[in-house]
């Protein structure tokens, strides 16, 4: 059997691997079935394929546990009817009792995590497409509109990172895709973190401490001196980083 050829031990049927992935969260703001149903229908009209077979985490962090009966099963049913695949429910611990009947995996809340990036990419699809205007926003891009300060890190794990504010010295930007900075870029910027050499760093005021594209770093900026404080586009050319005026 060819499948077994790569395995040293014939009795190995699987391996458990730890992996990170970005998922969309459907964050309930109400438990009113009718409201949820209406919004889901609206959503489906705007982007007919968006919800179809979409894996989501259902978050109950923003709604209070009802005192009497809990209609969570009806809500789950409604979501599934619209095509969503709920793979886990995230809620505070006191919800667990009421979630027992759902038979869906339970996740504790994220609030205990420290130094969470300022933008939450997993919330983005819903928040942005829920806006009644049918804007074609790419769900994988992360947009940050407040300053990224020293000691902070922002990641766009799936796409481009767009920062509309200053990036301080000591701050760090990471993106699978391109990085665009519309304020001064004084911190570190790492584009193409998964190895895509066709990515770039675009900024209106170049003053970075470090730039990297697909693993190739540059901390000594003397070769780029003539672009200091100016608009610049940094990209990979073979093994080298190159710069051009914007």
């Amino acid at each position: 059997m060819t499948a077994n050829a790569s395995h040293p031990n014939n009795s190995t049927g699987f391996q458990l691997k730890r992996s990170r992935l970005t998922l969309t969260t459907l964050e309930l703001l109400s438990l009113e079935l009718e409201i949820i149903r209406l919004q889901l229908t609206e959503q489906a009209k705007l982007a007919p394929n968006l919800l179809h077979d979409m894996p989501v985490i259902l978050s109950l962090e923003k709604v209070a546990l009802p005192e009497k009966t809990c209609n969570i099963n009806a809500i789950i049913h409604e979501c599934e009817r619209m095509g969503l695949r709920i793979i886990a429910i995230r809620a505070q611990a006191h919800w667990r009792h009421c979630l027992k009947t759902t038979e869906i995996a339970y996740l504790p809340t994220l609030s205990t995590q420290s130094d969470e990036p300022i933008s939450k990419p997993q919330h983005q699809t819903i928040e942005q497409t829920a806006n009644s205007e049918p804007k074609p926003i790419h769900p994988k891009h992360v947009v940050v509109n407040k300053p990224v300060r020293s000691g902070q890190q922002v990641i766009a794990p799936e796409g481009d990172l767009i920062v509309l504010a200053p990036v301080s010295a000591g701050a760090e930007l990471l993106a699978k895709g391109n990085i665009h900075v519309y304020g001064p870029l004084r911190g570190r910027a790492l584009a193409g973190i998964e190895g895509n050499t066709n990515t770039g760093i675009f900024c209106l005021q170049f003053a970075a401490e470090l730039v990297a594209i697909a693993g190739h770093y540059m901390t000594e900026m003397t070769p780029f001196q003539s672009f200091w404080q100016k608009g610049a586009h940094i990209f990979r050319e073979g093994e080298n980083l190159q710069i051009l005026p914007l």
């Binding site: 969470e116 300022i118 020293s150 301080s168 010295a169 701050a171 004084r186």
Partner: protein, 269 residues
């Protein structure tokens, strides 16, 4: 309901305590019932700057641990009505400042005061985190040098991610820059950052520029907040800052090298 103002910086020795004393006094002088709290547990010196060190009986940690009530620990200012000091303990360690304890004390004070000014310790450890956790507004004290500006930037990031307002997605903490120990002569010589350099990096509204001034040391030695010294440059700069905080639109002063008059030159100024 009181507004909670934190005076913070990251870096040590930049003028937080001087500023807390001056701003709290200035607010009380303008009729607002104000309390200033020393969060620098273990190193207390707000009481020295406020001139009430001999009247400290109970302190902030006693109140948190419910060993005394707030009334017993608050020290009424000798000079200004409406002004109170809640001193820090000199002996206990910073672990005494718990989220619940600090929250409970601030909640109680909120009911009967207009402003609560929190004098933060340096650093980004527990004491500093607790001083900013409940803040509505923040005065970021910065000296015109790179390391101080960098630390202020760091603190601004923490304010926007680790305060109650950030955690609960409320309106963000309102931030003000207070540039202190400003020496225009050294700025001209290129030894210090200019006002616009600092504004450019931190990108938050400028509340005031306090000049480097002998009046500050004199005031703290006497235990009289420098804002009482209405003749002094630093006293006037703090008074302007309080007025700006309360919404007045005033031009910034003391940004240029002061020309010494003939008399001052002869007798030393």
């Amino acid at each position: 309901m009181a507004k909670i103002i934190v005076v913070t910086s990251g870096k040590g020795g930049v003028g937080k305590t001087t500023t807390s004393a001056a701003i709290a006094t200035g607010l009380a002088m303008r009729g607002y019932k104000t309390v200033v709290i020393d969060f620098d547990v273990g190193l207390r010196n707000l009481d020295l700057v406020m001139g009430c060190e001999r009247r400290v009986v109970y302190d902030f940690v006693n109140v948190i641990n419910e060993e005394s009530n707030i009334k017993q620990a608050l020290i009424k200012d000798k000079r200004i009505a409406n002004l109170f000091v809640l001193p820090a303990s000199q002996t206990r360690d910073k672990e005494a400042l718990t989220k619940e304890g600090v929250g409970r004390v601030l909640e109680e004070l909120r009911k009967s005061y207009d402003y609560i000014v929190c004098d933060s310790p340096a650093g980004i450890e527990k004491g500093a985190l607790m001083a900013l956790y409940y803040a509505d507004e923040a005065i970021i004290v910065t000296n015109p040098e790179i390391s101080s500006v960098r630390d202020s930037d760091r603190i601004l990031g923490i304010l926007q991610s680790k305060s109650v307002r950030a955690e609960q997605d409320l309106e963000p903490v309102k931030e003000y820059l207070l540039l202190s120990r400003y020496d225009p002569e050294r700025v001209n010589r290129g030894e210090m950052l200019s006002v616009s350099d600092v504004e450019d990096i931190l990108a938050i509204p400028l509340l005031g520029v306090i000049p480097e001034s002998k009046a500050v040391l004199k005031a703290s030695n006497q235990g009289i907040p420098v804002i009482h010294d209405a003749e002094s440059d630093a006293g006037q700069a703090y008074a302007d800052s309080v007025d700006r905080f309360l919404g007045k639109d005033l031009p910034h002063r003391f940004l240029e090298v002061q020309k010494k008059g003939l008399l001052k030159r002869m007798f030393g100024g």
